[in-house]
Every structure is written in structure tokens, then in C-alpha cells.
């Protein structure tokens, strides 16, 4: 029933934006907030609803790095690789996370879709460098040990949620 809710939400988003093609970007942002990525068939649906071609929607969705057409994990880790963070060893942090999650070359998500890791060019938190963001939470002055601990904490929290759900 989760997908039904999401689809009804997409219809609402489009209606809320008056089915106006000029509001494509806010529509895509809202859709991505719902699905955590932009599924192909939903983009086609959006295009049809707005009376524009799917190729145009695809163009907009691929132009902005904010949008993603690939499903992302429940926890999106963005390691800052702006100049300040880079100098303070952000790539070492990135390497530590990749190793911790056991990701292979070319992979950015764990098979259970719990984590996705990527780099961004400056979070604007240079004072906290090296920094990263997990979903909406900012972490600063990180070390490889610290990022490894953060991952462990999330895994632990998830495991607890799971057992709570089963216990209930």
C-alpha cells in the first residue's frame, strides 16, 4: 500500500502545481522527496500530465546533480570534497566509509539499500572540515575512526528498530 500512497501523492503534487510545465523543477523535487529518487515511469507520467515530452523531463532531471534517477539507500552519506575538506583529508574519510560498507569498484549503495555514499563539492561547512552529511544531519571535524563509528551507530539503531517492530 506504500506505492499507492506514493502515487496518490504524485498526483497531488502535480495538481498542487496547477499542472504547469513551468513548475517542473519544484514538481521533481517533491517527487524525489517522496521516492528518494526519480523512477523512470513516474517521470514519463509527470511529462504526460504536464503535456511536455519525456525527453525534456529527462533532460532537466539529468542536468541538476540534485536529482537522481537511481534508487538511493535509506541513509545517504555525502562526504564533502570541497577544497578545505579535501586538504583536510576528505578522500581518506570516503575511503574509510567505502571499506566499512564493503562497496566494490563502481558501487555506491549497499545491497540492502541501507547506505548510499557519494562525494559533493562543498557543503558550505568549511569551518567544520572535513565534513559530511548523513541525510539531513551534518557531522564535522571527522576522522576515519569517527565515520566508521557513525556507520556502526546507524546499523545498531536500525537493528534495534527491526527487533522492536518484530517484538510489537
Amino acid at each position: 500500500m506504500e506505492t499507492i500512497r506514493k502515487f496518490e501523492r504524485v498526483c497531488e503534487i502535480i495538481d498542487h502545481n496547477q499542472r504547469n510545465a513551468a513548475r517542473l523543477i519544484p514538481i521533481l523535487q517533491a517527487v524525489q522527496a517522496e521516492y528518494r529518487y526519480l523512477p523512470e515511469e513516474i517521470l514519463t507520467f509527470v511529462a504526460t500530465s504536464l503535456g511536455i515530452s519525456p525527453a525534456r523531463v529527462f533532460g532537466v532531471a539529468t542536468f541538476y546533480s540534485l536529482f537522481t534517477l537511481k534508487p538511493k539507500g535509506k541513509y545517504l552519506i555525502r562526504v564533502c570534497n570541497g577544497t578545505a575538506c579535501h586538504v583536510k583529508g576528505s578522500m581518506g574519510l570516503y575511503g574509510a566509509i567505502v571499506k566499512k560498507l564493503g562497496l566494490r569498484e563502481g558501487e555506491d549503495s549497499t545491497p540492502d539499500m541501507l547506505f548510499t555514499v557519494e562525494t559533493v563539492n562543498c557543503l558550505g561547512a568549511c569551518g567544520l572540515s572535513p565534513a559530511m552529511v548523513v541525510n539531513d544531519e551534518v557531522y564535522g571535524q571527522l576522522t576515519p575512526q569517527r565515520v566508521s563509528d557513525i556507520v556502526d551507530e546507524i546499523v545498531l539503531k536500525e537493528a534495534q528498530n527491526e527487533s522492536d517492530a518484530h517484538g510489537a
Partner: protein
Amino acid sequence: MNGTFVFIDNKEIPIENEQNLLELIRKARVDLPTFCYHSELSIYGACRLCMVQVEGMGLVPACSTPPTPEMKVSTNTEEIRKMRKIIVELLLANHSQNCPTCQKSTTCQLQALAKRFGITKVRFKNQLREMPPDESSPSLVRDPNKCVLCGDCVRICSEVQSVGAIDFAYRGAQTVVIPSFGKALDQVECVNCGQCARICPTGALTPKSEVDEVWKDIHNPSKVVVAQVAPAVRVAIGEMFGLPPGTTTTGQIAAALRAIGFDKIYDTSFTADLTVLEESGEFIKRVTTGDRIPQFTSCCPAWVKFVEQYYPEFVNHLSSCRSPQQMFGALAKEMLSSELNVRPEDVVVVSIMPCTAKKFEAKRPEFEHDGVRDVDHVLTTQEFGRMIEEAGLHFKELGPESFHMPFGFKTGAGVIFGNSGGVSEAVLRYVSEKLTGQKHESYEFTSVRGENGIREAKLSVAGNEFTLAVVSGLGNARRVLDRIRSGEAHYDLVEVMACPGGCVGGAGQPVFSDPVVRRQRTKGLYENDRMLELHKSQDNPYITELYGTVLGEVGSHKAHELLHTSYRTRKRILDEDVSISSGDEKSLDISVCFGTSCFLKGSQKLLHDILGHIRSKGLNARVNVNASFCFEKCDKGPTIKVGSRTIEGCTIEKAIEAIKREGVALAEEVRQNV
């Protein structure tokens, strides 16, 4: 602005109605280079080749700078010359280097500019990331390695044709022009008109070549290779051999085909004459009974696909007549094997067409019988020109020869089919005599001729008032269809050709960008008509004979078998259903149409109610719910599909009843399995 001047390279040039400096500079007879400027498209300003120096403004792009009085413009300073060179060099550094084997070689604008600017060496290292070309389409090849990102194709597809099958995707150095989601061209809404290939300055979009297959059949002694030549080819192919546009070369074409090795040479104008009789017969029948009016012409395969995918409610308005190309193919396969005493599979029909969509049309499943295609190969005018070159023929010097009878004999009505308005005029020439029962001396209906993409004509024939629309360009067709749908406009007959100006402006024709070329070809076809002895399809003696010996009468059973077809509605993009709710493996499939028309008729509310019903009855595990795009029943929406049953004009009550009915069957099946 009138009465004022600008100074271009110190010459006074009067401002008339020019909207931008580029037009003024070209009026001053300075050929400023451009990739992305076309008078028929919006201004894009991306290629930066038209940069000029304006006193007080510095360097500005001429295409997007409006002229102001007394402006002082220099087009050839040292800085500008250097900059142009660098732009072209940078484009070359990111470009495939296989010019000698490129289809666009010698007509490529990048190649021409490199030569014009004297670029003998590219100072930058080649940075091209080689990508595979898309050869999925039967009509076109898209080679991203040759793209200069001028966006001409993107704009002609969306602005002129209102299709938008390709667009820019990704950004920066990764930018490409591709169909949605990086799909292959044959999986998306491309109608194969090829206008993108016509306007592409390089070899990034080209008509797909079938030259090799044709040579192979010509060299095969057991095959009888038959050519049919479309009307628009005869006034254009000369351009490839230095003749002015519009020069009629029918005799040279026949001679060249014979020299190349074709066994029989026929004229598609013959079957155009046949189309006139069948289509007019259908029109008279429909208009007198008020059945499916307006009737739409069906000669243009890009237009047919356009209706099939965007206007399903109008599909049955298309004339059931096959296009002249396909009528020819069917007749040739039916008659020639016995006449020439060869097996049907050894008769090879090759069309020479001004068109890329004809390649797609020939491959439609409707035109294949027992594994034998009615038309085996389709060559564009360009490809035929290349065969002439390959054979080493001096086209201009060839003595004119004639076509073979009977399919080589045509009237002027069959020849003007290549012009926008030609089909309508040819039909009028027949209908006016058929309805009055009298022969008329005159034959020209100039009211349907002209340059505009949408033309209307009102004619009174034997006491009947007919309103016609003559349309070229699919964007114009969309406007006309929307007005018909909303009830704003009423027509009896609507002629549509996908390419602006009709087939003379087709994408298979020799490369051109100046609209003057097309105008001269149009004129050439009308002159052809005047030069022929006969001007009305019904006067073609071989057509009369054909009805006597093979077809019976117009609209007969045999005529329907050979000369008519059916259409289907089609999805724009394959695999686009949205899965909303899935049950287990044995679940019942329910699809709710979310096409535009059903949406307006309340499919969103209906889906909401159906989901509510499923939830309240706890049927979640037993049904799959999808949102789909178009079940081709748009006139009777909202439409849903429950199992294999399509329910039109669906209400929540009807839906629940259908689910119940299917649900019982499902329950039994489940029970049996348990």
C-alpha cells in the same frame, strides 16, 4: 525602425524588418557562419560563430542582437577571425575524425567551415569519448560522436514537429542529445520524419542507408529488381549533380536506374493516381453519409504514426488507403511475378523516396504477407544519388529515357502529390467531375496551393460545400487537430504532410537549408503537371485498365485487399506503466488509464475509489493495480482494464462489478490449485 541604417563593415545597410543583426549582415552579402541559427526556429545563441564587433558594445552574437540605428558593426576583425578558428578547432577536438567515411562528407557544415577558415591542423588533443551510434531506427542513425550540440534537431523536433523525441541530457562535458532515458530511437515517440537529419549540420543524424542491400539484389541474377520513383525525387536529385533546384530530371532518372541495373522502372505517381480514385471514392462515401468526417489523408507515414500515438480518437478518421508507395508494392508483388514469370519472392521492389519515414512504413507488419514484404528496400533521393556516383554515371549528360508501362504512366495529378496541397488538388480534380458527372476543361485548383503551413479552402462542387484544410508540419497538424477536437473548426477533408512544404522538403532529399530551394522544387512539380498530357487521375488509361482486369471497381473487395490497410493506436514510449499496487503471483491485473483524455474525464478519482474499494475489502494480495497510458479508447473514457476486459466510460460501480466477476473466477482458480 524603417528608414534607418546600420553600418556593416563601413557599408550603410538599411534596416527593413530584420529582427537581428545576423539577417542584416547576410543582407549585406556577408556570409556569417552559424550552426544554430535557422530562420524557421527559435534563436538559441549557442554556437557563438556569428560573433561580431559592435562599436560601444564589444563582441556580441549577431543572431541575438537586435539592430539599432547607426550601429557600427565589424564582421572580420583579427580577434573575430581568431575566435572563429578556435571555436571550430575545439569542436573538431571533440569530434569523430572519420570524415572520409561519413555520410555527411562534402555536405557537412563543420567540414566546410574548417576548410573555409583554413584550419589545417587542430592544435588541441582529441578529447572524444567514443559512444556507440544508435542504429535501432529503420529510418535514422544517431551518432553522438559527431554532434556539435547546436540543438537544431532538438528545436525542429519540438518547435516545428511538436514531437520532442530528442533533447539535451546531462551537463557540461557529458552533455548529449538523446531520446528520453537514453532509450533507442525506435522505442520512443520519434515519427521518423527525419527533419532532424535534414537540419543537422554534421553527420550526427543521418538517414539510414540501404544502398548495400540494393546493390546485392541488383547483382543477384535470380532477382528481378523493380524501381518505383516518387514524384518529389525528379525535381531534386539534379541538385546533387550541379543542376538548379526544381530542374525536372525524370528522363535522366530512368536512364540512371537502367544503367545501374534495375530490371523495371516504374513511377510511384501511377499508384498516386490510383490513390486518388480510392481515396476520393472513400471520401464521397463518407461525406455523403456523414461518416467519420473530416477524412484525413494517409499518404504520409510520419503523420500516420503521429495520429496513432497522439490522437487515438482520430485514428479511424485516417483514410484506409495505403500510401502510393505501399499500393505499388502490393500491386507489384501481386501482378509482376506472373507477368515476368518469376517467383514472388524473387521480385524485389525498391522505392526511391524523398523521405526517411517511408523506410519505417515499408517495415510495418501490415505490409508483409507470408514473410514477403510489399516493398523490400527504400532508398532516399540522397542514397540514389550516391548509387549514381558509385556507378560512375555523369547524371547531367545522360540521355533521357522512359519508364516501363503500365506502372510508369501517370497523370499530372499523381505528380503533384509531392507538394503540400497536391493530394487535395488531385482529389478535387476527381471529385468535381465525379459528383457533377461532367468533364471539365480546367484542372487547377490554386486555392489549395501556397506556402503557409495551414491553409483552408472552401469549395462548392455540384451543390455541395466542402471545407478543406491543407497542413504541412506536424506542429501545425497538432494545432488543427486540437481545433477540430474542441469543435472550433470543421473540415471535410484534411491533408497533412509531416515535412514543411510536403514531400519536396523531405529529409531524404539532397541536403538543403534555404527555404528557396524547396519553393523551386514545388514550382518544378507544378510545371511537370502542366507539361504532361493528362492531369486527372481518372483519365489515366492504365488505371482504367487495371480496374478492368484486376481490381473490379473503386472500393471493391479486391481493391480493399491490395490497396487499403488498417491502423492501430500505439504507445508513445514502450514500458511506461506505473505499478501502484502488487498482489501475489496469481493476482488480477487492473489498469487505469491516465492518458490525457481519460484524466480529464476523471480517471484520477476513479483510481482513488478503486484503491479505496480494494483496501476496504482486503483484496490487496489479490490484485495488481497499474496506471497506464492510453488504451486507445479516448472517446469513451475513462477506461480501465480488468483482467482481459476493457471497460469504457467506467464508473466505480462498473469497476467493482468487474472486479467481483473476475474475483469469483480467481477465487475458484485459487481453490482448484489448493
